[in-house]
Subunit: 254 residues, 2 copies
């Protein structure tokens, strides 16, 4: 039977010597033998155990749980099932993470607002002169801003009142759906979300379902925006976001 020293084991398994020392210290993997000089000597059985440890570590299981799994003498199927559960959970988290990164990337690349003021400026009640210069500076190059600016420039006071009334009726529909206890996936909530989209689409700039999703995420991500909805009704921001996503799903739009 061959035995292996720390360095070789470390190389083969892609861990560091320190890690092996650590596993020895905490009793997770104690090499079966030692040379006369005190060198750790790993047998094949030790390596098989290490292999399992490495697999579990890749799932980011804490070391003591790994020890429990390996020493507990469990049924192999149970063992596998539990392992699979763990991996799937992690997989879900990572998928979420990718989505989050993508959203962040889109924001960055579109040079979308870093600050809440800008968001409020574009979509909110604002549109006051003092903000306009600054906002245009940062938003000037985006299509959405150009369209919005082009259209709203010609709005009369009456138009603005109509816009405001529309916005309020959309919001009311959302609040009512939520208060009625309807889920964001309900037709009522989705219809309200669709009305929300059409309102922006008609009044400000072209807005498809995909971009609507991004707005929805911002409603929750941006505190100022969140506040707007939360002031209307607690929990409304998240509700609106979910309803918008559900509505976009319904329209088969990525």
């Amino acid at each position: 039977m061959t035995t292996w020293t720390v360095g070789r084991v470390a190389d083969v398994f892609g861990v560091t010597v320190r890690t092996l020392h650590h596993y020895d210290e905490v009793g997770l993997l104690i090499p079966s033998e030692r040379s006369r000089a005190g060198y750790r000597l790993y047998t094949d059985a030790d390596l098989a155990r290490l292999q399992q440890i490495v697999v579990y570590r890749r799932l980011e299981l804490p070391l003591d749980e790994i020890a429990a799994l390996l020493d507990g003498g469990e049924d192999a199927v149970d063992h596998l099932r539990r392992q699979r559960e763990t991996v799937l959970t992690r997989l879900g988290e990572l998928t979420e993470l990718v989505a989050a990164i993508d959203r962040a990337l889109e924001r960055e690349m579109n040079e979308q607002p870093a600050t809440p003021e800008e968001m409020k400026e574009l979509f909110g009640d604002g549109f006051s002169d003092e903000y306009e210069a600054e906002a245009q500076e940062r938003w000037g190059q985006t299509d959405a801003w150009k369209q919005s600016a082009a259209r709203t420039k010609r709005y009369t006071k009456a138009d603005w009142e109509a816009v405001k009334a529309e916005m309020e009726s959309v919001n009311t529909a959302l609040v009512m759906a939520k208060r009625a206890g309807l889920p964001p996936t309900s037709p009522e909530a989705m219809d309200a979300a669709e009305a929300h989209r059409r309102h922006i689409h008609d009044r400000f700039y072209e807005l498809d379902h995909a971009f609507h999703r991004r707005l929805a995420d911002m409603y929750v991500a941006d505190p100022r925006f969140t506040k707007t909805y939360e002031d209307l009704e607690a929990g409304l921001a998240a509700y609106v976001r979910d309803a918008i996503h559900a509505n976009a799903d319904r329209h088969g739009d990525a």
Copy 2:
């Protein structure tokens, strides 16, 4: 202007008071004001910054890098791209791991109960004599998923044929729906999506609609998966994802 105390901020943002103290200590988020009694007072601007921090933290960026991003105005896009790569790599690894576990599980279920040999095969006692040289050479310099590939090569193909046939019929249904110009929200597409789910559910592991959605997202996010579908038909990956979401919607599953 309103200001907020630690506790309220913590509640709203879903972090702990200690975390805010920590961010203050390390200079990541120093509240703009203090009350006479020394209470931390967070302004709206502070909250906006915290919001960004929270987002970046979900991407598991270390605090100093977050600080650099927020303060330095460094290239956030590059940063995010790299982050995305990392996560995708890990996603691929875990996906491969799940596949390996599923294969092992299937063998366990369809054939005999667990024997030490089978465990050995899953986790790879790759250090048995005949295999040793080759394995060492490979394992020494390649990453974990190639290890896995090397080992799964030894799995019997007998079990796979039935599964493969099913899988093909599911895929065929999806391709046909798409070629027929039916939207992902059509009954045909959704039925095919449901068949897809049931196939995995019956053959591999329990799979509800919610998790099916996550798989669907992965089909688009993970290039290896995407390729599988794109090879069958251009645009199929996104189509499948949308069909799966539509199907999950139909089943009222969040």
